[in-house]
């Protein structure tokens, strides 16, 4: 297949953001994913974000049934899925309606005119056809009867109308591939493989794809359709790459940790959006010694994991906010018995059931402080899809080395977002093999390593190390139940000291971008990384002495963080909650920062952070 590469036709772009939006049944996720694959294969950098509807299958044509997929790609470094799409592909009125507010003024809208019938307009809540009044005058609109053209394109394959209409997304994809001068072959290969058992479906899809592409080629010059070129991202390191989303990376990171620790993992969990993906991935990895246990509820899930840790495996449990809340009491048991445990919280918008499919970073308080008693644990946060892999390994390392629960915070955004990933080689990672206690000499169950303060791990099945543990306070020296006053103080102190001491065994805080000290720092944690990064980059381009500090070790905090923060005239803390990290840093460092918050279920826009930087720097003058 020959790709038209005559550069003359093409307008060159550094980066562009495209949003595919349609009904849940329109296959927009698939379209977006395939477009990402081609983008990846062509070597551009990119970031994607799927935007699912809350309903499983909302009635066709409704606004709440809209499913969208956004991709931001470029020859430059890309770290967010884009503030405002430049191109919107809208397959029906509802998709148009829902996506319009985010679109860049002057951007291009490609709509399937064929779906703008009265019924669909009504369902979307339009009283007038927006294609026929001037409501879209801020944009370039390209109306196409994709429905009709698709039906024509696949007519020859003899597919029924219902199945034929299913190919609309491929027609659209063909057109978009044409727009960006991307090859069709990876898609046709994939279609042939996917539908190997139903060749007429494969054929129909390919016909539609080709027809969409052909439409671009033959479109009238007067149309709004133009061609763009987005080149390779040349700063990319050499090596083998794939596309990865956060949930996948996290699953693999945990397994990588288990490989490095030479221990099997047992995931005790209960399905919940957006954390279920972890279960789905890990349940398929049995050959790596990964056991998954779908428990009756979150409490049983964490308790099963604790039981597994007691028995000598590494217990892991995962959930989202409401489920983590349920685990609170049991996490206290793991703290008190000092068993290793990894708790993954893929955060979503709260409080309560909140907005299950929307993202938020509002479980920080719960992670750091949300338990009865003085109950410190380790808290880590992943900041990008690929960072999930590394943080997964780190969580396993700390849990085992320090015999402690580790809370790992991800969120709905990075869980589902994807980006190119330079695939690592597991053999280049340092191993940290688990050490069980087997020596009866001087054994008692709460005997501690004087350096790490971690207690020994003696697993059932080991002769002569019989012992009993539980959630009641234990004697510092024997590990037996103890109601002694001073002993409780001693044990409370050692539990706190053990966790505090981990500060010396974690990566030092770095400055992501900009100088280590200066006018202003934007501090973030978790999935805000991309937006902050780009905002700071732009601010620096504008000549503002801004830096980006991104915190991955939430508890304990890196010891050098305080000094770094104090070296800036001003600090903005940007987070997707009502100011939780701000409160944490105030309490630790008496830091008087500006708290930039957002809880709309959607990631920060770069511009929102950039505006804040400008304003704060201005206000400073």
């Amino acid at each position: 297949m020959n790709v038209q590469t005559d550069a003359q036709d093409f307008e060159e772009l550094d980066s562009v953001c495209v949003r595919f939006a349609g009904d849940s049944g329109d296959g927009m996720q698939l379209t977006g994913n395939q477009f990402s694959v081609v983008t990846a294969l062509e070597g551009s950098d990119f970031a994607t974000f799927p935007d699912f509807p809350a309903e499983i299958r909302a009635p066709v044509g409704t606004t709440f049934g809209v499913s969208a997929f956004q991709i931001n790609f470029g020859s430059v470094e890309i770290s967010t899925a884009g503030d405002e799409p430049d191109v919107l592909v809208a397959m029906n009125p509802a998709a148009l309606k829902v996506s319009l507010s985010g679109l860049r003024k002057g951007g291009l809208i490609v709509v399937d005119e064929g779906s703008f019938n009265e019924r669909n307009l009504h369902k979307a809540g339009y009283s007038e056809n927006p294609l026929e009044n001037d409501s879209l005058s801020d944009f370039q609109v390209q109306k196409l009867d994709i429905t009709k053209m698709t039906l024509e394109a696949v007519k020859e394959t003899g597919l029924g109308k219902k199945d034929a209409l299913r190919c609309k997304n491929m027609w659209t994809l063909g057109l978009v591939l044409w727009m960006f001068g991307r090859p069709r072959k990876p898609i046709t290969d994939w279609l042939e493989q996917k539908f190997v058992k139903i060749p007429d479906v494969a054929l129909a899809n390919i016909c539609a794809l080709n027809a969409g592409h052909a439409y671009g080629e033959t479109a009238e010059v007067s149309s709004n359709l133009h061609r763009y070129i987005v080149r390779k991202h040349t700063e990319e390191e050499t090596g083998e790459y794939s596309t990865i989303n956060g949930n996948q990376a996290l699953a693999w990171g945990l397994v990588a940790g288990s490989e490095l620790a030479e221990i099997d993992i047992m995931l005790g969990t209960y399905p919940i959006t957006p954390a279920s993906a972890l279960l789905h991935t890990l349940s398929g990895l049995k050959e790596f010694g990964v056991m998954t246990f779908q428990a009756e509820d979150e409490i049983a899930a964490v308790c099963g994991a604790i039981g597994a840790s007691f028995a000598g495996k590494l217990g892991i449990t995962s959930s989202s906010g409401p489920g983590i809340a349920l685990k609170t009491e049991a996490i206290g048991l793991a703290i008190s018995t000092e068993l290793p445990l990894v708790i993954v919280d893929v955060q979503r918008a709260g409080p309560s059931t909140g907005l299950p499919t929307k993202t938020e970073q509002s479980d920080l308080y719960q992670a750091v402080w949300g338990r009865n008693g003085d109950a410190p644990i380790v808290v880590l946060a992943a900041s990008t899809p690929q960072d999930c892999f590394k943080v997964g390994i780190e969580a396993v390392r700390l849990a085992i080395k320090y015999m402690t629960p580790v809370m790992l915070l991800s969120d709905g955004y990075i869980g589902n977002a994807s980006e190119p990933w330079k695939i690592p080689d597991i053999n280049t990672f340092e191993k940290f093999p688990v050490q069980y206690c087997t020596d009866p000499k001087g054994f008692y169950p709460f005997k501690r390593d004087p350096k790490t303060l971690a207690r020994v791990w003696a697993k059932p099945g080991t002769p002569e190390l019989l012992h009993r543990i539980g959630g009641i306070e234990k004697d510092y020296d024997t590990g037996h139940i103890s109601y002694d006053a001073d002993n409780h103080q001693k044990m409370s102190n050692v539990r706190a000291a053990k966790i505090a001491g981990i500060a010396n065994d974690i990566a030092k805080q770095t400055v992501e971008l900009g100088n280590a000290g200066g006018k202003i720092a934007v501090v973030g944690w978790g999935s805000t990384r991309g937006s902050i990064h780009q905002a700071v980059r732009r601010a620096r381009k504008e000549g503002i002495d801004a830096s980006h500090v991104h915190i991955g070790n939430i508890w304990p905090l890196p010891p050098n963080l305080e000094e770094i923060l104090n070296s800036f005239d001003k600090v903005i803390i940007a987070e997707m909650n009502m100011g939780q990290m701000n409160v944490l840093l105030r309490s630790q460092y008496l830091l008087d920062a500006y708290s930039l918050t957002k809880v709309t279920g959607q990631p920060f826009k770069i511009s929102e952070i950039l505006d804040c930087i400008r304003q704060q720097v201005g206000a400073d003058k």
Binding site: K286, C303, G307, I426, R468
Partner: protein
């Protein structure tokens, strides 16, 4: 290595036992220690898991591995233990509050899943540790600190519940029955899957004598029946009473052999594999009926932990796990 067989004393720990003097828990502890010795348990491969309650202090007193967890969650923790290492012999100790009130859901699911372990539910029909509030098994009208005018709840029948939950082994014992109990516990250990044993346990402080009407030794022959698979369900001091199925009323009745033309042939034979029979037997209450003890239901099927490991092994079979290959599955591309 040729080891001495262990005696029940070898299963005692150095911890001071902290139950009230006269508590039924002491006798059960003894029965369990005897059982462990009888079946030749190896202490290091045995784990006792419990929740919270007087009964749940049990693990501290058994010289094996032990985990005194949190209120109601022992079945979930024990499931994790067993899944992680199926070679361990897992025993669960719980109370009527721990196992049927706060822990009812985990109890339900450990039974449904049929995880291989012995579950001993010490039923004293009261919350001992928190000083005597009524429990879900307390008789209606129980006056307690939280029900000063008497409880109004209908009590739960633990064995009915267990069968409804899908348990494949259900048995009953009495704290002071130092002969019968170890036998029942041995059967429970032999059963592969979740074995549920309700043990009537007297709380001398907060609910003394609730079971007296059928546990008193001198009346036991008339108020209890210890069922055995394949045996006619005959009881009574003179072995003249029996359980008969009355087809008209579709219910059991107590008949007397020799009266009204009843012969031994009319007495129902206990079939421990018959669920319906078990459901019927566990509902009988004194004084109208004898309280049924022993192994009431035993109908094994594959245990959950077995099935999980079988599936794990099948998935592993013939595969050499290659983590680097895993990461490279799907579409990749190379930047040169």
């Amino acid at each position: 290595m040729n080891k001495q067989p262990l005696s029940f004393k070898d299963f005692e720990t150095d911890q001071e036992v902290r139950w009230c003097p006269g508590c039924g828990d002491y006798a059960i502890l003894k029965a369990v220690q005897m059982t462990l010795a009888n079946i030749g348990s190896t202490p290091e491969n045995t784990v006792f898991v419990s929740g919270i309650g007087c009964s749940s202090r049990f693990p501290y007193y058994v010289e094996t591995y032990g985990f005194h967890t949190i209120h109601g969650r022992a079945p979930a923790v024990a499931t994790g233990v067993k899944l992680a290492n199926p070679k361990l012999d897992v025993w669960l100790v719980t109370g009527d509050g721990d196992g049927l009130s706060i822990g009812g859901n985990h109890m339900l699911h450990v039974l449904r899943r049929n995880v291989n372990m012995q579950i001993m539910l010490f039923n004293n029909e009261i919350y001992g540790l928190t000083k005597g509030q009524y429990s879900p098994t307390s008789k209606q009208g129980t006056k307690s600190p939280s029900t000063p005018f008497g409880s109004v709840d209908l009590p739960l029948n633990p064995c009915s519940f267990a069968i409804g939950a899908g348990a494949r082994f259900v048995a009953r014992g009495i704290d002071t029955a130092l002969k019968a109990l170890p036998h029942t516990l041995e059967r429970a250990r032999d059963h592969i899957g979740a074995s549920f044993i309700e043990i009537y346990q007297n709380c001398i402080v907060y609910n003394d004598k609730t079971f007296e009407h059928f546990t008193l030794k001198k009346q036991a022959a008339n108020t209890q029946i210890h069922v055995e698979h394949g045996q006619a369900m005959i009881f009574g001091t003179d072995k003249d009473k029996g359980l008969h199925f009355d087809k008209e009323n579709f219910a059991l009745e107590v008949v007397i052999i020799g009266e009204n033309g009843i012969t031994e042939a009319d007495i129902l034979i206990h079939d421990e594999t018959n669920k319906l029979m078990a459901q019927m037997l566990v509902e009988l209450t004194a004084p109208d009926f004898p309280v049924v003890c022993g192994v009431i239901y035993c109908n094994p099927t594959q245990s959950y932990d077995d099935a999980v490991h079988e599936q794990m092994n099948k998935a592993k079979k013939g595969k050499k796990p290659d983590f680097n290959a895993l990461l490279r599955q799907g579409r990749t591309w190379t930047v040169e």
